[in-house]
Amino acid sequence: MIFSDTYAIFWREMKRYRKSKSGVIIRLIQPAVWILVMGNIFAGTQPLIESVGFDGEYIEFMAPGVIILTAIFTSIFGGVNTLWDRRYGFMNKALTSPISRSSIALGKMLAISMIAAFQASLILGIALAIGVSMPHLWMIGPIMAIVILFSIGFSGISVMLAAAAKSQETFWGVINFLGMPLFLLSPALFPLALMPDWLASIAAFNPVTYTVVLVREMMSGFVEGWSAILSVSVLVVFSLAMLGLASYVFTRDVNKPF
């Protein structure tokens, strides 16, 4: 039952995404600007990047970071339609139907993660088009799997906040407070080794850090076994924790008035 219930919600969210073509473009603008503008502005930092052992252009260093940026923002904003659903009645419709409440949260999270992966693959396409090299193109599949896993965690945060938020302002406030710092406090734009120690130690608790490191290795073609296992484990724990928490908070809070 939980599968068909989850699929029902997933199906609806994907339909909505497919029908809103402008949404696809809007979600692309920010990461595209990052990779095209920032990638060139910081091109001069290449010697710094080289000093920590990265063999390539700055834009190649940064591309995995921007792919993850796409995933972060697509998924952390993805819960916003839960707010609309609470306001415009679909939520009550779903809550008075026999499907289980956690499958509503689950269906939304899975759909957001698929959308995040799709958007990230578009950014990866742009990166390849502007000359980022990727020795093993078949790695795109596994990279997308990692992006989906990572996005489940972030969409969980988003869905949970949207379910519990007393107002839209709360939701937007928290989301903006979380998104950018989590992105910047990671090696997405700049190697951890060159950060002040205290920032680097904070970044060590950030799931974004592990995802960026892993995707960067996958793109450059040199995956280190232990580091990859560590990254995947952190991601699995993070996503499962958010999945559980989101499903709990959603079930408890979603039908409170707002």
């Binding site: 029902a8 199906w11 009550n92 026999p98």
Partner: protein
């Protein structure tokens, strides 16, 4: 077995009782209407019955299942058409119904034929493959009602089914409601603040105000209980002797009840053709001049006033604007 059974149900928000000790039984196949002004507790009661809210105290059974402890069973047996239109605008009419079929767990083999059936019923077949954002308000409401019917619920909840719709659309929706009731025979629990709606659709009406049920009965019985006619008049001046005038009018044969509202004196009676001359005679004798007088057949409006002491659209604190809104709605023909 009653279809809906409510026992001493109370819902408080802080120290405000939105629903205050309601007890009510609704039989299978009945169309029951909750009639009351905005904020009377209609929607809150409906949200408890559809498992969206937990009661503060008391309990309620829907098809024999407790709304608190057997929520899932309750949800399998109900359809809920909300006050706000909840159509997903991105999807087509048919896709909306497919979504509803999935979340209602309708067996795959039956989905298509059932969708065709309800689309036929609400006459949306031609437009089914267009995005529902292109639908008019009335069409969206029909689509919502169709979604509520799709899984053939034993109990259908309609929260203010025609609010915000024009009069033709409203009549059409009433027609659909009667049609689906005839077809499926389910219990229908609806809430409304339109007298006409309650009068035209419901087998029984519960008048609700300030969270309490003031009266429950058939619309016709309620109207008859108030006498056949209503005579309203105002006096030119002289409110001084009004009380003794009222006392004398009360003694006239056939006069059942007298109500005062601001300057207006309303006499409820049968045989009003005999009563009116007598009212004139008495007031003449007391040297009080009647300014205007009118005679009306009783409506549910009067029933409402009689039970709650105020007009359906009156609201303490906002009296003036409410009153204006009421008059405006009357002029629109609501």
């Amino acid at each position: 077995m009653s279809s809906i059974e409510i026992n001493s149900l109370t819902k408080s928000f802080g120290d405000f009782n939105a629903v205050d000790d309601i007890t009510l039984k609704i039989e299978s196949g009945e169309i029951f209407g909750f009639l009351g002004p905005n904020g009377a507790g209609k929607s809150t009661t409906m949200m408890i019955l559809t498992t969206l809210l937990k009661p503060t105290s008391g309990n309620a059974l829907v098809q024999g299942y407790d709304v608190q402890s057997q929520g899932k069973k309750v949800r399998e047996n109900i359809g809920f058409v909300q006050q706000d239109i909840s159509v997903d605008e991105y999807l087509t009419g048919r896709e909306n119904l497919i979504l509803q079929a999935r979340i209602s767990r309708i067996p795959k083999s039956e989905v298509s034929s059932r969708i065709d059936e309800v689309l036929e019923l609400v006459e949306l077949k031609e437009r089914q493959n267009q995005a529902s954002i292109t639908y008019s308000g009335g069409m969206r409401k029909r689509l919502d009602i169709a979604s509520g019917l799709l899984h053939r619920p034993k109990v259908l909840f309609l929260d203010e089914p025609t609010v915000g719709l024009d009069i033709q659309t409203r009549r059409k929706i009433w027609e659909y409601i009667r049609k689906i009731h005839k077809e499926f025979g389910m219990t229908i629990f609806l809430s409304t603040h339109y007298m006409e709606e309650a009068d035209k659709l419901c087998d029984r009406i519960g008048i609700i105000d300030h969270g309490k049920i003031q009266a429950i009965d058939k619309p016709s019985t309620m109207k008859n209980a108030l006498g056949d006619d209503r005579i309203s008049f105002t006096l030119v001046d002289g409110i001084d002797n009004r009380d003794s005038l009222i006392k004398k009018i009360e003694e006239i044969d056939f006069v059942k009840e007298i109500k005062l509202k601001e300057d207006e004196i309303t006499v409820f009676s049968s045989q009003s053709t005999d009563v009116i001359p007598k009212i004139f005679q008495i007031s003449n004798d007391m040297e009080m001049k009647i300014n205007t007088i009118s005679l009306t057949q009783p409506t549910l409006d009067d029933v409402f006033i009689s039970y709650t002491g105020h007009n359906l659209r009156d609201d303490t604190g906002k009296k003036f604007s409410r009153r204006k809104e009421f008059n405006l709605n009357r002029r629109r023909g609501f």
